[in-house]
């Protein structure tokens, strides 16, 4: 059974809010709250080792704050910041691995996020690919012409890359307009909220709130 993306997003936000409400010193409670994402990690079809390693990506920022706390002799505070950051990013990683970004954007739109923001975000994601494809094509063409690898040439190519990406993106947009694009991207499979989603949401939020405030 696959959760509705709205349900997944709401549960993610509820968990992150509960985590952010913890204060330094509540290390035991924080450790208990780590159980939820670890259970999710254990029972989800995700690459566990990869996600655990990827979550460490955020640690340099948190480490800077933890280092200052450590220098002041506040070890518990340092551990708290490191653990809370790590578990937050791990939870986000698990959810974004289980639910696609486009589904999460649709869920945001259905939950009331501005449509214009969602459209621009979807265009941005499409045009990142256009940008990458144009850059690859230009690089291949330059290599075929025997161009040397040089930062100066790369810098001078940036302007051309911008113009080519813009031209291609405009072409894509015009093609979309010709096919009847009216500012809304139609969905092949519209989201459907089921009873199971309501049940999961209620149980999930009760579990998170219970763990956070009842213990």
């Amino acid at each position: 059974m696959k959760l509705d993306p709205r349900c997944a997003l709401l549960l993610l936000l509820a968990y992150l809010i509960a985590l952010s409400s913890l204060t330094p010193g509540q290390n035991l409670l924080l450790s208990l709250m780590c159980i939820l994402p670890l259970l999710l990690l254990a029972f989800s079809p995700v690459p566990r080792a990869d996600l655990l390693a990827q979550a460490a990506y955020v640690l340099p920022f948190s480490f800077a704050i933890a280092a200052v706390a450590l220098l002041r002799g506040n070890t518990a505070q340092a551990v708290f910041f490191l653990l809370r950051s790590y578990i937050s990013i791990l939870t986000v990683l698990i959810v974004t691995r289980l639910v696609s970004t486009l589904d999460l954007l649709r869920a945001m739109e259905r939950l009331g996020a501005p449509r214009f923001l969602i459209i621009v975000t979807e265009f941005l994601m499409r045009y990142l690919e256009v940008l990458r494809a144009e850059a690859d094509a230009m690089r291949l063409a330059a290599l075929c012409r025997g161009a040397a690898q040089s930062k100066l040439i790369a810098a001078s190519s940036l302007g051309m890359l911008f113009v080519r990406s813009l031209e291609r993106s405009t072409g894509i947009h015009n093609a979309m307009l010709a096919r009847g694009f009216n500012g809304r991207l139609p969905r092949l499979y519209p989201m459907q909220w089921r009873i199971a989603d309501s049940f999961t949401l209620i149980v999930g939020i009760a579990g998170i709130a219970g763990l956070r405030w009842a213990l």
Binding site: S20, L71, L117, T121, R126, M160
Partner: protein, 299 residues
């Protein structure tokens, strides 16, 4: 500057979350009203460019690096409302796809970079454009955009964690000034290049003053930054003082070690000279880049 989840406290998240929601909803409404349909690809491409540019870090001090924010460039080319939305979209993709900045921390990150960052750049740019000095306006706007966004981000982290000291604050203010000046130089170069390539993309334009004015402003700002930064130990020295850890030997001889130009007497003069030299190098490189980009197009 992308604050991850798990750092900010609940009151900070709630306060800035409410402010960001209001800001984004209003910006989306205004952007939808003012943005013509044919400019949507431009929003996407510019967003993709700023997204890519934010991935490139440049050194701004010992053990510290900064990256382009892009709020000023977006504001100058597509206007503040669309720029706020495009910047929010960038932050959204970075948080959801690349885990750069937290999902819940978007509340603060969006306010810092997409709202404050864009408007801090737009207001001086607009005011000075009307007075016939768009380039000075863009430079000052870029600097303010980075400086204010970074100060606010640091303030949020400081209030949430309660661990920032006065020494760290002074050090960080110096770094933000340098990052802002670099952002100004890069934004100016990119804006000039885009204007030459696609003259019609910008919302405001016109002939600007002599580049010497921009260079002068940069130098003045750099001197102020150096003055602040030199009055207190930097973050590594601060750590070293606290822990008693001895310095780690450098693996190469730097041209201006410890951000000082040894040819001058007095620490302040040495640091100022090094800062000015660095800024001139960045300005020169940016100017060269702005000239090379159109040339690359002609070829």
């Amino acid at each position: 500057m992308h604050i991850p989840d798990g750092i900010l406290s609940a009151p900070i998240l709630a306060g800035f979350g409410a402010a960001s929601c209001l800001g984004v909803f209003y910006s989306a409404k205004k952007a939808e009203e003012t943005t013509q349909a044919h400019r949507i690809p431009l929003l996407g491409v510019l967003g993709a460019f700023v997204f890519a540019a934010q991935m490139v870090n440049f050194p701004v001090g010992p053990g510290a690096s900064g990256h382009l924010l892009g709020g000023a460039l977006l504001a100058a080319t597509i206007g503040p409302w669309a720029a706020s939305i495009t910047m929010t979209a960038i932050l959204l993709v970075q948080a959801l796809v690349f885990q750069d900045g937290g999902v819940l921390a978007l509340a603060a990150n969006v306010f810092n970079m997409a709202i404050l960052g864009v408007w801090a750049a737009w207001l001086p740019f607009k005011a000075l454009s009307k007075a016939g000095h768009p380039r000075i306006g863009l430079f000052i706007g870029s600097l303010l955009s980075v400086f204010l966004s970074a100060i606010l981000a640091l303030g949020q982290v400081s209030i949430s964690s309660g661990i920032m000291s006065q020494g760290l604050w002074i050090f960080c203010l110096g770094l933000f000034t340098i990052t802002g000046a670099i952002e100004g130089a890069i934004t100016l170069a990119a804006w000039q290049a885009i204007e030459r390539l696609e003259g019609s993309v910008t919302d405001a334009g016109g002939a600007g003053p002599s580049r010497l004015w921009i260079l002068g402003t940069s130098i003045a700002v750099m001197l102020i930054g150096v003055f602040f930064a030199s009055s207190s130990p930097d973050v590594l020295e601060y750590f070293r003082q606290q822990t008693g850890v001895t310095s780690v030997g450098a693996s190469f001889t730097a041209l201006m070690p410890d951000y000082e130009w040894g040819k001058f007497d007095g620490e302040w003069m040495r640091k100022s000279a090094a800062g000015v030299a660095g800024l001139i190098c960045v300005y020169g490189l940016s100017l060269l880049l702005s000239k090379l980009i159109p040339r690359g197009q002609q070829q």
